[in-house]
Amino acid sequence: MRALRLVALPAALVLVWWAVGGSTFYLPGPVEVGRAFAATWFSERLLDDVLPSLGRLLAGYAVAGLLGVGLGVPIGLSRRLRATLEPVLEFFRAVPPPVLVPLIMLLAGIDTPMKVLVIVSGCVWPVLLNTVEGVRALDEVLSDTCRMYGVRGVSRLRRFVLRGASPQIMTGLRQALSIGIILMVISEMFASSSGLGFTILLFQRQFQIAEMWSGILLLGLLGLGLSLLFRRLERWVLAWYHGSGAARA
């Protein structure tokens, strides 16, 4: 039943695709893309292109998560810090990553650190913003309780701030996951000669459209897989929240 619900809509969408696909050069049908998928990705490409990309993605995501939460907590807690840093952060947030890349290259070179940094530069925002808002919205009575019972410093952070803001932090982390995949592709637009994103772009430039779509398909599947893993994590971290009925997800 659960599996059925999981595939019902995708199946319907594939049917629609079947109906409209193949009519133009840029939108091949599902069969063609499926064939290209098998031919393209069930090969050494998986090792050469997909795995390194995935590694960078995870590294960038982890750094972004730590950075977003690490910055978000103090910014959320201190109004003055928030007022000071917000314009600067908003400034960088509004700069398109492709434009930011040259600057990042100046600082981090053109190899893996640069690509990881590009991923970080995009992923960090949803985590940061959600952390800030989550921390700002912490329950006052709980905060007072902490103050009364001398729950301070690291303990307060660990046992109150992070846990209390965790529903919103998880929202940010979930957002960041798919943004990370997008940024992985963008980062491979620069100084690359391999990688999943690069391969898709190369297919696009070389007008191998079915192959390109198969790459996009792989991106989607990747996102789906990672989000299923993420849901596991979330269920565990937010068990109290779902249990208390506050999230009838």
């Binding site: 050069f25 100046l106 070179g109 190899d111 100084a191 690359s192 190369l202 430039r205 070389q206 007008f207």
Partner: protein, 294 residues
């Protein structure tokens, strides 16, 4: 909304051309300014695009009636069965060592002294599997080196000099204005790859698709030929027009090497590129250039 581009309105055809805003495409801008297109009953809009792939998909998608793309991109498109047809020459190499608009540069202190030394090095090109790596390999091969071990990385031209300077790559392939800029800042050219690849190499061309009205194509070709001819003969006006559609600083404009703009496509050089690309594995099959360039 608005008037559909490509339809004849009040005696003139509205035409949208997808063209990269670089030195190479000065003739079309100059020709537009000179009124060569209006003369042919063409109301020309020039849309800046990012690169060959964008202009080709734009043209195939029907957004542009005419567009500008480099030789390798067009060959690739052709091989994938896309309906593209060359209508005019775009830009050609000067063919002169030391005076071309495209070069491979190294840091002043680099041990790389000749194209042969590039073998086994890390070289940046703006796009992999395109004209850059094909011609750089040709340079190395011509100098007696083995291009097999070269590691190419993709770097947009503007970012290449910084990467060279910080030692991220051993050499960079760039075109004007970055050639002059980098040289003036100390970089040293080691290879003139366009000049090496083929005599009077046709680097890029204007093209259309079969859906464009043949009469319009004829008139566009005529206007384009006139523009190319004019540009080739009036380098000072070219340097002036560059100030309008690019943001290259005037000092640099005064210094850059201009390419050649012959009216005719050098089919032999295109065939050479096609064969080289095939040898390098960029193209899968042998392509008969005459199906692309009539």
């Amino acid at each position: 909304g608005g008037t559909e581009p490509g339809t004849r309105a009040a005696g003139t055809d509205k035409v949208n051309a997808g063209v990269i805003a670089i030195v190479d495409t000065a003739p079309i801008h100059l020709g537009k300014a000179k009124g060569f297109f209006t003369e042919q009953g063409i109301d020309l809009t020039i849309t800046p695009v990012q690169g060959g792939a964008a202009s080709i998909s734009g043209a195939v998608g029907g957004q542009f009636q005419f567009a500008f793309a480099n030789t390798t991109s067009l060959l690739t498109a052709r091989q994938q069965g896309l309906d593209v047809k060359v209508v005019a020459n775009g830009v050609s190499s000067t063919g002169q060592q030391g005076k071309d608009f495209s070069a491979v540069l190294v840091e002043p202190g680099s041990p790389i002294r000749s194209p042969k030394d590039l073998a086994g090095r890390k070289i940046s090109v703006n796009q992999l599997k395109n004209i850059g790596d094909t011609t750089v390999r040709a340079s190395v091969r011509k100098a007696g080196g083995d291009p097999g071990g070269i590691e190419f990385v993709e770097l947009p031209f503007p970012d290449a000099p910084a990467a060279l300077k910080s030692g991220q790559v051993d050499a960079i392939w760039v075109v004007e204005p970055f050639v002059s800029q980098a040289i003036s800042q100390g970089a040293r050219p080691v290879a003139w790859n366009f000049a090496d690849a083929a005599p009077d190499l046709t680097v890029a061309m204007y093209f259309t698709t079969s859906r464009t009205d043949p009469d319009l194509t004829r008139r566009f070709t005529a206007a384009m030929r006139r523009s190319l001819e004019y540009a080739d003969g009036h380098p000072d006006e070219v340097r002036e027009i560059l100030k309008t559609y690019t943001k290259i600083s005037p000092e640099v404009i005064a210094k850059i090497y201009l390419p050649k703009w012959p009216v005719e496509v050098n089919k032999a050089s295109v065939q050479t590129i096609a064969d080289l690309a095939r040898a390098d594995g960029v193209l899968k099959d042998r392509i008969d250039v005459s199906t692309l360039v009539p």
